[in-house]
């Protein structure tokens, strides 16, 4: 190393002096000379012949991003995705449930015949195993259909077109147009959606995107929405149209979520996160032919199994917890019943009931287990009903536990709006490093869910 007489500061001072001497627009001049160089190099080595493919892409873009057709096409694609998911998931779900509950029966009987104490059989098979069986049969089929279809849209290059179509809406809400992309990622998983907000450079707009990502239902919440759509909405229609009606109601809920995203973004950008929307350039990539094998791999291994594994990890302890709560009696009634009684008035005010609130408390780690927890709490102990299809679930909910259309609507709204799962909250913390924004991200949706459900329930009861 040389013993330099120069110290860094003096070099910087000289550089500053020179910069001032060069005038304000040094950067522009440096950049434009760079651009000129790039242009002349490109002119020398590129021969551009026919432009047919460009025209083809542009022609498609003119339709899918047109003012008139852009949004309807988007909604139609969304509806088609849900319709495929609902239609395709039903039968495999039933088959999975039938076989997994058969295993429960066989193993429980075998445990009993081996002389295992009742609590061990109950805990292992009617608690842990039943929780797992529910999660797998309710979640796996819809995910195995939804994720690949969604990935195909992503690989085709459709997502940036969605952002393009929604840009003006986000801009008017004071949010960044790329929030449409992060919102789309939230359909898979809100934690992934929160991470995807890194594409937004402005910290203000990025926070808005993080705080509102929860308003699009993630994959863990579709099973709840789909189940309610099938049981309550589809049942009201003749069979040939039932699956369309179910899909339409899920789309309706999703659009409501988008409306909340925009509304809350608007409110945030006029209050705690005040500011104007920043400009950006959005690149519309060429349409590319998706490679099917890779899509199956990424969507099934990276996404489906990843999410399912996470659900299984939370479902096993949740199943165990529910079984314990339902089987320890204090003062003649079970702990679960105590909790349900405690939550009942609050649940009623929201159009729900005590069991649903209990299920949401237990499901804080992962939304996926709401329906299984609820059903286990309703079924209680020892009832060996094989609940393998939607008709049986309907009987349990409507005939045995007094669910009405209001319960279904309130639950759909609550599922859409309530607090993000623990993983997402943790991700918000990792991305913002701020206790304040993490708390707001967790509590704001919950408060909104309470208010909306309370209002709907009150008005419904007054009118109907």
């Amino acid at each position: 190393m040389s013993e330099a007489a120069l110290d860094p500061q003096s070099v910087l001072d000289r550089a500053d002096q020179l910069r001032r001497g060069l005038g304000e627009d040094v950067r522009d001049r440096i950049v434009s000379s760079l651009y000129q160089r790039a242009q002349s190099l490109s002119d020398r080595s590129v021969q551009s012949g026919g432009k047919q493919k460009w025209d083809f892409d542009q022609r498609i873009d003119r339709i899918v991003t047109s003012r008139l057709f852009g949004l309807p096409i988007m909604v139609a694609i969304l509806a088609a995705v849900f319709w495929l998911t609902i239609l395709g998931a039903n039968v495999p779900s039933q088959m999975l449930a039938t076989s997994l509950f058969w295993v429960e029966d066989v193993c429980a009987t075998w445990f009993d015949s081996m002389g295992s104490p009742w609590w061990l059989t109950g805990f292992v098979w009617h608690g842990v195993w039943r929780g797992l069986a529910w999660v797998i049969s309710v979640m796996l089929p819809p995910m195995a259909i939804f994720f690949p279809v969604f990935t195909i849209l992503e690989d085709l290059g459709y997502l940036p077109r969605v952002a393009f179509n929604l840009d003006w809406l986000f801009r008017r809400s004071g949010a960044h147009g790329k929030q449409a992309l992060t919102m789309a990622m939230g359909f898979g998983c809100n934690a992934a959606g929160v991470i995807a907000t890194r594409v937004i450079d402005s910290p203000r707009e990025r926070l808005i995107a993080i705080l509102t990502n929860n308003f699009v239902p993630c994959n863990g919440r579709y099973p709840t929405l789909i189940m309610l759509a099938v049981i309550f909405v589809a049942a009201a229609f003749p069979p040939w149209i039932a699956s369309f009606a179910a899909a339409a109601s899920v789309v309706g809920i999703v659009l409501l979520g988008v409306a909340f995203t925009l509304g809350v973004s608007w409110a945030l950008s006029r209050t705690v996160l005040e500011g104007e929307a920043s400009a950006f350039t959005l690149e519309l990539p060429p349409y590319r032919r998706p490679s099917i094998l890779r899509i199956l791999y990424t969507s099934l291994i990276d996404r489906t199994l990843f999410v399912l594994w996470r659900a299984i990890l939370t479902a096993a302890p949740a199943g165990a917890l529910i079984w314990i709560l339902a089987n320890i009696d204090v003062g003649g009634i079970s702990l679960a019943q105590h909790a349900v009684n405690l939550f009942e008035p609050f649940g009623y005010a929201l159009g729900l009931d005590g069991v649903i609130i209990l299920a949401y408390v237990i499901a804080i780690p992962a939304n996926e287990i709401v329906v299984p927890t609820m059903l286990m709490a309703y079924l209680g102990t020892g009832m060996m009903t094989d609940v393998t299809d939607y008709d049986q679930i309907r009987t349990i909910l409507v005939d045995q536990h007094g669910w009405t259309m209001l319960t279904a609507i309130s639950l759909m709204l609550f599922s859409l709006l309530h607090n993000p799962c623990a993983t997402t909250i943790l991700t918000i913390w990792k991305e913002t490093h701020s206790a304040k924004w993490t708390t707001l991200g967790a509590l704001m949706p919950l408060v909104i869910a309470f208010i909306v459900c309370f209002l709907v329930a009150t008005v419904w009861r007054a009118v109907v």
Partner: protein, 275 residues
């Protein structure tokens, strides 16, 4: 570890028999290779094809938000590959650009592969020119050749390579075409078998005078710095990160020889030997 065999080009290429994907299972590595490029040019596809990893590749700008690492082995030499976030420039306007630029400056890769989109060469060359300012050892991977062909765009890769002063390799990363040649070229650039003479565009004349004055000052502060000219330009632009690096002595730590990892001493010697 599995044998790579994507596409037909690989099978005829001599590198094919020796290329092994390493995934993330790397106990150590001999050379560090950075993967830079504009967003949505197929960088992640190149990364996946070489490492055998399956980072999700999406058809939208900004899909890769953090940097990913993996490895491959060619002829018994272990390469660590770092996939940088896609950027349009290195002027440090956003977090992504800063991550990419810091890695090229301070991560000291032995070779940098810049993936460019053959259908939008002009825009992509802006980044290539900026990378050439920072480091000598660059290989340009002209990707999406199939799309260019479909659009009737012909890229004369040999003339481009001559103009830039660094090797350029045409590829179709999705099918694996040209990747064998790419890894071989990277190896040749690192070993010095292929000598690079990167194009460094002259700045506007009045800026040139100021640059000429600053270069010796910077070089005395950071002897052996391979890109004093670039640092001078950045200082004239008032770049905060570069000012900071100069004050803190980070720049002085970068030596002309883009050194190999310190934990692998024997390898350091072998690289020096090949210079």
């Amino acid at each position: 570890m599995t044998e790579i065999a994507p596409g037909h080009d690989c099978e005829t290429c001599p590198a094919h028999a020796q290329l092994e994907q390493m995934g993330v299972a790397m106990s150590g590595w001999d050379h560090l290779v950075a993967l830079a490029g504009n967003p949505n040019t197929g960088k992640s596809s190149v990364f996946n094809a070489l490492t055998g990893l399956r980072q999700h590749v999406g058809n939208w700008t900004g899909k890769t938000v953090a940097r990913a690492e993996g490895g491959y082995t060619l002829a018994g030499v272990r390469y660590k590959l770092v996939d940088l976030p896609g950027t349009y420039s290195l002027l440090s306007a956003s977090q992504d650009e800063e991550i990419a630029r810091d890695f090229l400056l301070f991560g000291r890769p032995d070779c940098t592969v810049v993936v460019v989109d053959a259908t939008a060469l002009e825009r992509n060359l802006n980044l290539v020119l900026q990378v050439l300012e920072i480091t000598d050892r660059v290989v340009v991977c002209v990707n999406l050749m199939d799309e260019a062909e479909r659009k009737g765009i012909e890229v004369d890769v040999r003339s481009l390579s001559r103009d830039l002063g660094v090797p350029a390799v045409p590829t179709v990363a999705r099918s694996g075409e040209g990747l064998g040649q790419l890894v071989q070229t990277v190896a040749d650039v690192i070993s010095g078998e292929v000598q690079t003479k990167p194009l460094r565009a002259a700045p506007p004349p009045e800026v040139q005078a100021a640059v000429d004055e600053l270069i010796p000052m910077i070089e005395s502060l950071a002897p052996g710095l391979p890109n004093a000219r670039w640092v001078a330009m950045r200082l004239l632009d008032g770049d905060h990160r570069v000012r900071q690096a100069l004050i803190s002595g980070e720049l002085a730590g970068i030596e002309g020889l883009q050194a190999a990892p310190t934990e692998d001493h024997s390898n350091l010697i072998s690289i020096q030997g090949s210079q």
